[in-house]
Structures are given as C-alpha cells and as structure tokens.
Amino acid sequence: MSIINEISENLQTGKVKAVKELVQTAINDGIDPSTILNDGLLSGMNVIGEKFKNNEVYVPEVLVAARAMNAGVQLLKPLLIEEGVQAKGRVCIGTVQGDLHDIGKNLVKMMMEGKGIEVIDLGTDVSPETFVNTAIEKDCQIICCSALLTTTMDVMGEVVKCAEKAGIRDKVKIMVGGAPVTQEFCDKIGADCYTSDAASAADAAVELCRSAS
C-alpha cells in the first residue's frame, strides 16, 4: 500500500498518532504537500463523510477521524502556505443566538474542512450581527447557521434580514441546518441552501463556493 493510502486508511479509523507519523514520513520523502493533503487526508475524510451520509458510521467515528485529519493538517499547514495553496473557499459557521447545541455544527465544520474549505468557527449563541460582520470582515462566501431548538430556528431568518440590511445579500450565500430545520423552512426565510446532514452540507458548500468564484 502506498503511504498516501495508508494515511487515508489510518485517518478513517481515527489513529491520530499513526497519521501524524505517516504524514511526517511522506513530507520527509519529498511528496508534494498538496498530494498528501488531497489524496491522503481529505480523501480519507471523504470516505468517512460518505459513510456518515449513509448512516454507516456515526458521530464518534467522525470526530476521531476529524481529529486525525487535523493532526495531519497541522504538520502540512506551513508547507501549504509556502506553496501558496489556496483553500476552496471560506465560510463562517455558528449555532444561532439562544442555542448552545454544537455537536451538529462541529460535524458540519469538520466535513467542510475535509473538503478543503477554510472554516471560521464562531461557536454557539452567535448573534445575526456577528455572522454578518464576520462574513464582511473575513470575506466569507457562505454563512452557515445551525439551530437545534424550535424556538431558536427563527434567528436564522434574522440572519438573512441582517445580511440584506448590510447590503451583502448578493455576495454571500446562507446555509441553514439542524434537526428541526427543513427545506420548506429554508425557503420560507429566504436562505439559500439546506441539507439534512453534514456530509451533504460540505458537498453543497463546495458547489456554492465554486459558483461564487
């Protein structure tokens, strides 16, 4: 098995230590950092994402795989910057104001990172203004909002309005999700995209970023 495949395999089973060692060896062997990233780490995360979408693996497995991915990415980061490798896009994500559920949001973040998107994590209890201001300051293509409570879903509508008011609505896409959210709700509040799971969210984000650039 090639070292790149080995990285991918070990990432899928969440072996942080092995992934780190293998990535270091690959770097030392002079393999192109983007190849290690794309064909090793991200492709491994992709497999996990697909399996998660099909309910074959669940939250704990995704979290350990993401941990392994991040460990590998840390090692590659300086080299990628040197090479001038660009992220596929930049998004900001957060759980809306009044809501502290963050597991789903974290999964979405990890899956998006697994697709090579730069994700700015605003944490939980995020106000509409913070979403919009971050999108402006950090030049994000997408704002991603998560909500788990029937009573906090409506804040997503306020994010849409806030983006309109700030005059950035035509420049930024708004994605919404979380257990109580539906496509119908997304349409109603005038958001751009809803998906029911984190892996599909990442696929959709890649598309949105592509069409934005």
Binding site: N55, E56, Y58, V59, D99, L100, D125, T151, P180, E184
Partner: protein, 469 residues
C-alpha cells in the same frame, strides 16, 4: 369552501387550508410529535383512499377523510388504590407532557381511592415542550391552556363526585405555566427564565377548573427541573446518612437528580422523544399492537410480545430498549451502532432501521451521560448511591438488564434500580397527605447546566457507542 367528510360528519374548510389545522379547529386533533413540520410522519390519515400526512395536505377540493381511531396511551401510575370514599377527600394531579393522571385521595384513610388518566391534548401542538412553546409564541397560548383545562375537567367529571376542596398539582414548569395560563414564552429561549418556580395557589374557578375549591401547585427547582421532579424526590425521600439517591425520569426531557439530605444536583438530559415513539420509523406509544418486549433465542428465533396480543403495529419504548439490547448482544448491531443490513425485520410489517438505531444512540447516551456527569460533578462513587429510582410512564415495564446492555443505565447501579412509575403523581399524593415542607428538596438542589458541564460533552460522544461482550 370545501367539504371535508369524516365518517358521517361534514366539516368545512377554506381552499389552501392545511388538513391538520382544520382537524384541530374542529377538535379532532391528530398526533403531531414534530409540530407539523412533516418530519415525523405520525399524522397520517386516509384522504380519498390514499395515505397522506395531514400536516402537509393542502385542501383544494372536497375530500373524504378517515382517521384511525386515537387510543389512550396506557400509562400506569403505580398507585395503590385501596382507599374508599370518605368525608375528607382531595385531588392530586400530575400534568405530564404526554399523559395526565388525576388521583382521588382519602385524607381520612391516607390512601388513594382511584386514579383516572388521560392523554394530554396539547400533543396535537407538538410532542415536546419546546414545540408547544413555539406555538404559543407564534399564535397564543390560550388554546393550549383551554384544551388542558378541558381535559382535566373531563377527568374530574369521570369521578362523578361532589365538590372537592383542594387539588394539588405537579408537572414540569411549562405545564404549570400553561395550567395557570401564565406566559410561558420566556422558558423557550435562553436564558430560559420562567415566570414562577414557587408553589402557586388559585381559586379553581378563576382558572376554569370545575368542581374544586382551590388548586395548589408544588414548587420547582428550575425551568427544566419542575414540580414533577420535586414531587418525585418527595416520594422517594432522602437516603440514609452519607448516601445519595438518584432519580431518573425517563421522559422526553429526561431529568436526573442526585441528592442527599445536605446537597443535590439536578439536570435535564434532553434525551428527546424516541422512547415515546417519535423519531423512530415504527415508533408508537404504548397502545395496542405496540411491541413492548422482544428477545432473540439461541437460534435467532424472535420472541415478539405486543400489547393486547394483536399483530405488531409498531414499537413502544420498552420494546425499543429490548430490541436494541438483543441486537447488540447478538452482534447484529456492532459496538459503533452499525448494522450490516439497512433494516432489521421484527415482524411482518414492523422493522428497525439504521437511522432508528442512530436516534436511539443519541437518546440513551444523553441519559447515561447526564447520570455520569452528576456523579462526577458531586465527586462520589457508585457505592455511595443507595437507590436509583426510575420514573416515567413506562419505567415499571423496562427490562433493567436490557437498559444496561444498551447503555441507557449504568451497570453498576442495576441492582439498586427501583422503578416507581409516576413518581410525580405519587409524590403529590404524599404531599397532600403529609403537608410536609418541600423546600428541603428545592433549597439544596443546584441546577447543573450540561451545556457548560466539564464532563457532559465528552461523555455524550463516548457513550453513543455500545459496549459489546
């Protein structure tokens, strides 16, 4: 205007109206755990011979609808009803999110005479309190108040007795707000502040309760640890010196309290409604046709038991716990929760899907991790726990071994488990009889917010897994 024909009855609807709204308006609510978002698929009715989700069906012609009969959920209260009708009587009422139980108590004998239960009609507005609060915020809460008061009056009527002086009431904080018709909207969003937590009394007449003089509610600890839980603590009482009691209410909000005479920690695990059938493809409440017990024999032959011994229609909470435990034991579900086949066939038309297992993993881990978080926060050992009381409509029917196998309850406490059915009702009865000071329970009990707990998040992820042998 279109005609909606239901059996022999005809009601009218405007074009564009949603069928479930029309049914609700005409007091024929269909069950709606998801609050009408079209996600739970529990509000199916038959429209012109075709199955439709009533919350998604837009009326644009005359239609003929047949509703499957709604059944009362079988809810055992665990009450010992050996009392008789004496001179001094009172009522004890438990308003649950799902069921309502009203007990007639003989104060002279110190015994319960009879208990009558009903389904909380607010279910039509959503299975959980948050969905109901959203309804109140968007519409008005008068409707939710009206339906619950009407149901309570109906239960009172069923006793067919003379005026009763006092009715003692317990329920979660939202239920009590809706009972007294006090604005519940602030409980729905952070920081979840209720209007009242203290014991409250009113002239029954002023709140629309008929045939009763005064109503008195029990006190609560916090927004998500209500008078129902305080009543439960009152029922179990304090443990012996140096020991702790654990009280676990296995409902949608899954409250957990760890307490001794000197200190107490309480929390709400927010397990979700999967034990009550929502979020599970063939989930249903404990009514006839529900699989309530399941085991796999050595040769993998299935032993399926249903309520009323009729062909299986779905799965209720105890059945679900059994099924998951048996499949984990047989390695059909692996330690990560994965099943090789997308669905597992339980009987002719009832199956368990991979998605159902995932929902269960969230719920069971929420409960288990909440219990562990409190034990870790209080920094005590399992040995210091005297009893683990489990309450909730189906607690007495749970197979404890299954609950341990599937990781809902800690194995170390299995032998200390005491099911107490409706602890809220029984604790309210006890209060009616003893008039003891409940502040001993509320005063020392601190609410633990799991969102900011040092322990919960990691435990929650870790315990989604199953332990295999």
């Amino acid at each position: 205007m279109y005609k909606v024909k239901i059996g022999d009855e005809v009601i009218y609807a405007e074009g564009g109206e949603i069928l479930s709204d029309v049914l609700l308006k005409h007091k024929k609510p269909v069950e709606h755990p998801c609050g009408g978002r079209g996600t739970c698929k529990k509000c199916k009715v038959n429209v012109n011979g075709k199955e439709e989700l009533s919350c998604r069906y837009v009326i644009n012609s005359d239609i003929e609808v047949s509703l499957s009969g709604t059944e009362n959920i079988i809810s055992e209260t665990g009450a010992d009803t050996t009392g008789s009708i004496t001179k001094n009587l009172c009522f004890a009422l438990d308003i649950g999110t799902t069921t309502i139980a009203l007990a007639l108590v003989s104060l002279d004998e110190g015994k319960i005479v009879k208990v009558i239960t009903g389904t909380n009609p607010q279910r039509a507005f959503g299975a959980d309190i948050m969905t109901r609060i959203s309804y109140c915020r968007q519409n008005s809460q008068n409707e939710l108040n009206r339906v619950v008061i009407a149901e309570i009056n109906r239960l009172i009527g069923e006793f067919g007795i003379e005026r009763i002086d006092t009715m003692y009431v317990a329920g979660n904080v939202t239920m009590l707000h809706l009972f007294f018709n006090v604005d519940c909207s602030s409980i729905g969003v952070a920081p979840y502040t209720p209007v009242f937590l203290e014991s409250k009394s009113a002239d029954a007449e002023d709140i629309g309760i008929i045939g009763v003089g005064k109503v008195i509610s029990l006190p609560s600890v916090s927004s998500f640890v209500g008078a129902d839980i305080v009543a439960g603590m009152n029922y179990t009482g304090f443990p012996s010196d140096g020991k702790y009691n654990l009280l676990v209410d296995l409902g949608t909000n899954a409250e957990v309290v760890l307490f001794s005479e000197n200190s107490g920690l309480a929390t709400a695990a927010a397990a979700g409604p999967c034990f009550e059938g929502a979020n599970i493809s063939f989930g249903m409440s404990a009514t006839s046709g529900a699989v309530y017990s399941f085991s796999l024999k050595q040769n993998r032959e299935k032993d399926v038991k249903t309520i009323s011994d009729v062909p299986a229609k779905g799965i209720c909470g105890t059945g679900l716990i059994d099924i998951i435990a048996e499949l984990v034991k047989a390695n059909i579900i692996d330690e990560t929760g994965y099943m090789e086949d997308e669905t597992y066939i339980i009987s002719d038309n009832v199956t368990l899907s991979q998605g159902d297992v995932r929902q269960f993993q969230l719920a069971k881990s929420a409960v288990y991790s909440a219990i562990l978080s409190l034990i870790k926060t209080e920094n005590i050992a399992f040995e210091q726990i005297e009893n683990m009381y489990i309450s909730g409509g189906f607690s007495a029917k749970i197979n404890i071994e299954s609950a341990v196998t599937c990781g809902l309850l800690p194995a170390a406490l299995a032998s200390k488990t005491v099911p107490i059915n409706n602890s809220s009702l029984l604790g309210t009865v006890k209060f009616a009889l003893e008039q003891n000071d409940l502040s001993v329970y509320t005063r020392n009990t601190e609410y633990v917010d799991l969102s900011s707990s040092r322990y919960f998040s990691d435990l929650f992820i870790e315990n989604m897994m199953f332990e295999t042998l």
